[in-house]
């Protein structure tokens, strides 16, 4: 099992100009480790981070899109695996932090924790690549190569909470970050 903040810090060290779509705890922590106008937090409804990521990946094929999803969130939108695989965006990497609980909603367990495999589901849905990590050292060793691969790529991160970070709800729900993101993502081909 890996600490979530350690995983996110490892990704933050490798982030250059990628669009990063994140949810809940990952969003709060990512803001601390990798603040950027290219952080997309306007997910707005349950489980749809990867759908937003898919739209961004299709709309901006010139940019890499990382999605930092949660296990409870993905379970609310499992069909996304098929939709993403069918569209097959090369520039999309879908990370899922699997901690087995709905952490921001009281840490109640997700249904079926330990009885199914997200990476296996993604692979069978048709993702080009699917990986699972539970050891930070291995993750650090492999992630550079994974980030360079054509997607869609799916990565399960078996995690547990690390340090506590502020839950900045106004950052997630407020207009300022959306406005920053829109300005940062100035189009190269308007209305294509």
């Amino acid at each position: 099992m890996m600490k979530r903040d350690a995983c996110l810090k490892a990704l933050a060290r490798r982030r250059t100009d990628e669009i990063v779509v994140s949810v809940y705890r990952a969003a709060f922590e990512w803001k601390v480790f990798a603040p950027s106008p290219l952080n997309y937090v306007a997910v707005g409804a349950m489980g749809l981070a990867s759908s937003h990521g898919l739209g961004l990946a299709i709309g901006r094929p010139d940019k890499r899109v990382w999605v930092l999803d949660g296990d409870g969130s993905l379970l609310m939108n499992l069909s996304t695996l098929v939709t993403v695989a069918n569209q097959a965006p090369k520039n999309l990497i879908h990370f899922v932090g699997e901690n087995g609980v709905y952490e921001v909603n009281g840490s109640h367990p997700i249904p079926g924790y330990g009885k199914f495999n997200f990476a296996g589901m993604a692979r069978e849905a048709g993702y080009r690549n699917a990986y699972e990590f539970s050891e930070l050292q291995q993750f650090e060793r492999d992630i550079d190569g994974i980030l360079k691969q054509d997607g869609p790529t799916f990565v399960t991160l078996k995690i547990e909470p690390g340090e506590e970070y502020p839950m900045d709800w106004p950052y997630v729900h407020g207009a300022p970050q959306r406005d920053l993101f829109r300005a940062a993502l100035k189009p190269t081909n308007p209305r294509s």
Binding site: A42, A45, M46, H52, L54, L56, R60, N77, H173, R191
Partner: protein, 170 residues
Amino acid sequence: MEASGELKGSAIIDAIKASGIRTIVSVPDITTSQGLLWPIARDPSLRHIRVCKEDEGVAICAALSYCDQRAMLVIQNTGFFYATNSLRGIAVEYEHPVCLMIGLQGAEPDVLPDDSPKYSIRIVGPMLDTLGIERHKLQRTADTAAIPGAVDRAYRRSRPVAFVIGRSPV
């Protein structure tokens, strides 16, 4: 408003294109299947993204707006009911220009949807009003003239808009 008449799918598609939309996101709907969605699917000038659930489409359309790409989500009223939370959060509260075309499964073609004796038809308009989503009826071909202006307004104001299709397009 008169309910009788004809609604041409080709006129809807022309209006969609005149709105600057080149991406259609859809979940199939029997009301619009033959006259609208199959022609869209066969149209090489439109990018057609098939999704499994309507809320996926809400998110995709919102995300595409950041890339300055206009999109239309074509769904059924049952899918609209399903996707209400995503419309509430993504389209309304987060102020994204999500454009919807909602087919009314089982609508009586010569009865205006708000006057329908069928609950699942009658409540669509009031639900859109409650959500604060601008709505337009597509009952006859002439109604399609409202599409480009309404889509422009949606993207200019960054707000959602819905077009409610009250009869099967031909």
